[in-house]
Structures are given as C-alpha cells and as structure tokens.
Symmetry: C2
Subunit: 308 residues, 2 copies
C-alpha cells in the first residue's frame, strides 16, 4: 500500500505488482496543523486498508512518500518546506501505531524516481536520474538498480546542486541552485525580475501561461525557459561526470514545457561534457505521472519491509 | 599483481592481502610511442611475475591503473591526456597476451579511491569520494562499498564538474571545471594570470613554492589557494547533495597544501549545504600515498577477475 503526501493533495493506493488496484485522494490542508493532518492520514489509510481486506487484498505494509528531508532510519520527516510546522515528525511511527501497518518512509522525489525506474521511462537503465520540475525541483538517483540515499540521506537532491555561483536565491537558503531556475517558482521569479521588459506574458498565468507565451513567440518567455534549460544542462553534465549515468527522466508539473528548455539544455550539455559523448545521454519525459511516487512507495515498502 | 601507469613513472607491485610484497619502478617515457611503452610494460610485469613465482607468490591476475578515459568492458584506454598518442589502446588485451595474466583495467583515480577506501582513510565509510589533486584533479566515488563507474564509464570524474560558469579553461575542453582551479596546473595558471600583482612567489617554484609563499604570508599566494578551496567547496557540496556521502579524502601531489585551501573550502560548503549539516561531512587527507592505486588495482583485479 502507498501514500503520497503532497503539499496540496494526499493520494493513497492499494498496489499489487506494479498496478494501482484502488486509489483515494484528500486535500492536505497542512495549515490545520500536524496533529489534525496525521489523524486524517491515518483515517484514510484505515479506510483503504479495510476496503482491501474486504476485497481479498489486505495490505501488508505501507510505503510513504513525503516531501522534505527524511531520516529514513528513524522514519522521521526532519523538515519539509511544503508542510508548515513539521519538524522532526516521527511520521512512520505515528502512522504505524494508528494503522497497525509496518511503514517505510522515503523522500517523494526518490520514490517518483523509483517508480519511473521500475515501471516507466527508466526501465532497463544502467543508471538513471529523475528530475521532478514542480514548485521546486525534486531529484532521485538510481545507480545499478539501487536508490542512492547516502549516509547523510541527501542522495538525489539534484535540485540543490550549484548551477550559478552567487545566482538566484533558492528556498533552501543557498544561492544559485538548479531549483532557483528550473522550477515553477524559479521561472515565475525570473519573470517578476524582468517585469520592466516588454512581454505578452500574463503575470497571473503561471508556468502554463509562460509556456503558451513562449510557444507564441514571446522573446522574454522563450529566454526564461532557455535559462532553465542551461541550468538543467549544467546539473545534468555534473551528474554524468560524477556517476556515468546515461538516462535522465524529466517529470513534474513543469515537464510539459520541457521542449522549450531542451535545446538550451542540450547545447549546455555539449559545451560541458568533454569527457564523454553528450549524445550518449538520453533525456526523456517521465511516463507514469502521478502514479510514479505511489508505485515507487509500494515497491520501497516491499524492499524495506520485505512484505508484499 | 598491480601496475600503476603514470605520465612520468610506472610502478608495479606484487600485492598480497593489502600489502606490497615487492615493487618495481620505471620511467614512462611516453614520447617514445605506444609500441615501445607497451613492450617495456610487459617486460617489467614479466620480470616481477618471475620473481613472484621464484618466491612462491605467483601472480594470478594483473590490475592496471591507467590515466584517462577507460572502456573497462573492452579493456581499452580510449584517450589519455598524459599518454600522447594513446587513443583506443587495447591495453588489457596487449598486456594479457604478452604476460599470460588476466588483466583488469580501470582509471587510476578510481583505483586510488578504492585503495584508500579498503586500506586507508576511507575504511568503514558509508559513502566516500576521493580527490587526487595533482597535475589534474582525479576523482573516485564509492557508494555502499562499490566503485561508481556508470554506464558511460565517467563515474567519479569530480575534477570535470562545474564550479564556475564561463570560468578558466580546463584541459578537457570545457570551461570552469574544478580541475582548472584545484590542480597544480590550475594554481600555476592562476598565478601566471596574476603576474602584474606584487608577490613573493617565484614563478619556477611550482605549487610547493606557491605554498611556501602562502605560509610566509604572501597575499596573492594565499588568495590562489583560497580560490582553489572555494572550487573544492562547491564541488564537494554538489557531491553531498547528489550522493549523501559523508567522507571526502584529499590525496595527490598538491594535497600537502590542503590546509591552505581548507578554510575557504569549509566556508563555501557551509554557504552551499543548506539541506544537510555541513559539519557532518568529513574532509580528510589520504593516508596511503603512492600505494593507494597499487592496492586498489590489486583489489580490483581480485574483484573483477575473481582471482587472488
């Protein structure tokens, strides 16, 4: 069984062999405080588990995809920018006590990557990184079939690698991270900074509006996506140099605008990657959409809890 | 048995359980051409193997540490800046035919890292990167006990990750790589570029002279090591974000000057690493020196060839 805890929505699914048998969804409403949210999460898990038991598919464990920095050993959400008030939250223990299920907790972008690797665009890859371009830039890294988390737990945080020293401020507190350019927040921030320039962009149109303007020939909008593309090219080139991987999967809400970023990304990769053939690195769209983190969470629970 | 093919010297060793039983050394003299060098390498290996057989320690396989980009599957040195004329050289096959030993070929910085991980500063680390600061900047990455090479073979090439967009030209052809700042070539290049400035540095004194000047209070020399330290801090912060590793080992000929780079490196790491505690990342000097690549090569041969 899988739970994807987003900043806006929570999604749950009963999963069997890479397929979602039954799903449920609720609004996160993090503003009501951690205790209220925990109670609603537990109720939703218990409801779906009861449905599964009635249908002859009782869940054996629960994989939880959470935003933020995770202490997976202790099952704790250390801090999460999208869940106000969550600091050192023992989410695995709380959910386990309230549902009687064994719980495996992991970062949502890591589980998105695992879902794409096992069932989507990453199937059969030797090494793969997955970038989820949304409000922020999530990342997951899979080498030789294993999710890279690392001793410090930060493995796969591609969104917080440097692409521009002394560059734009990132939500993490550092300057010049990939996330400050290739996320919705980054793109809209760059648009706001360029407000003196002539543009057809509607300020309230979000990234979709910006993408429409770019496709219609708006110079500024095209330039901002190109800046995001350059940032992605730098981060991907570093990834390839460090890990030798040959596949990058692009997902998340901003991914439909990937074709607007791809030429600049490819050009930057070609300029940066002199030690390997940049053409050997595939960069492809994600295939599983919202299902990816749920499928990844269910697989993670099986791996970590040795349950089905 | 192990062979470390350097641009200046070749070193060989009979290795048993992490100890060098007997060693040999010859000048590389790459300028005589690939055929002559191959012949001399094979003769040296055969000599040492004969000694081993006479002493009751016959070598079962040969691990070869080579600079440059390696195709380890085919045992080929694709290109090596330090070995002029070497392009797509089938080194493993040539040495195997001439010595009747099974040969496992790998990048020298990767084997240096493996040697430090197994027998030196990296023992027991959860995840480790090793940086060899010399003429260039070599790198090796070990995650969960395994050397990261990757589908494209470039794994661990930390020296060619970006630290300064549109920065100094690197030997690889790209701009702003770590190697352009934190290698002997990078440091001496920055000194040459600053030649109009007052300094006690002797142009012919190399990195050792530069380090002496910095220790004696020379402002320019101290500044150049600080620039190298900033570059290292950026590359290490990216490494930690991507892999979650908690140990970085600094080796190579420039490593004695590490204390001159460390404060700026630490400061940059603290500014960049907001998602994890920068204090949890240890950065320590290498312990095994020239033995590291030989010990790593012998271990690699055991792993890859399943011989002792």
């Amino acid at each position: 069984m899988a739970l994807d805890l987003g900043g806006t929505n929570v999604r749950l699914a009963l999963v069997r062999e890479g397929h979602l048998l039954h799903t449920a969804r609720l609004a996160t409403q993090a503003q009501d405080g951690p205790a209220a949210l925990l109670e609603r999460l537990a109720a939703a898990v218990n409801d779906l588990a009861a449905w599964g038991r009635a249908e002859g598919s009782p869940p054996a464990g629960l994989g939880v995809a959470s935003p933020g920095v995770i202490d997976r050993g202790r099952g704790v959400v250390r801090v999460s920018p999208n869940l106000p008030g969550w600091r050192d939250m023992p989410l695995a223990q709380e959910l386990s006590q309230a549902t009687s299920l064994a719980v495996a907790l992991e970062n949502d972008a890591n589980l998105y990557a695992l879902g794409e690797y096992l069932y989507g665009a990453g199937q059969g890859a030797g090494g793969m990184a997955c970038l989820t371009l949304g409000t922020g830039v999530g990342g997951g890294l899979i080498l030789e079939g294993r999710l890279v988390t690392g001793a410090l737990g930060s493995g796969g945080e591609i969104g917080h690698t440097l692409v521009e020293p002394d560059g734009r401020a990132c939500g993490c507190g550092a300057l010049g991270c990939l996330e400050a350019y290739a996320s919705a927040t980054g793109l809209m921030g760059m648009l706001a900074e360029a407000q003196g320039r002539t543009s057809a962009c509607q300020p309230g149109g979000g990234v979709e509006g910006l993408a429409r303007a770019a496709r219609a020939g708006d110079t500024l909008a095209a330039e901002l996506f190109a800046r995001a593309g350059v940032a992605l090219g730098r981060a991907i080139a570093n990834l390839v140099a460090l890990t030798g991987l040959d596949l990058v999967v692009i997902g998340g809400g901003v991914a439909p605008a990937w074709p607007l970023m791809e030429p600049a990304c490819r050009q930057e990769m070609a300029a940066r990657l002199c030690i390997v053939d940049p053409g050997a690195v595939r960069v492809v769209p994600a295939q599983m959409g919202e299902q990816a983190p749920l499928l990844g969470a269910a697989a993670w629970a099986r791996q970590r809890l040795a349950v089905d």
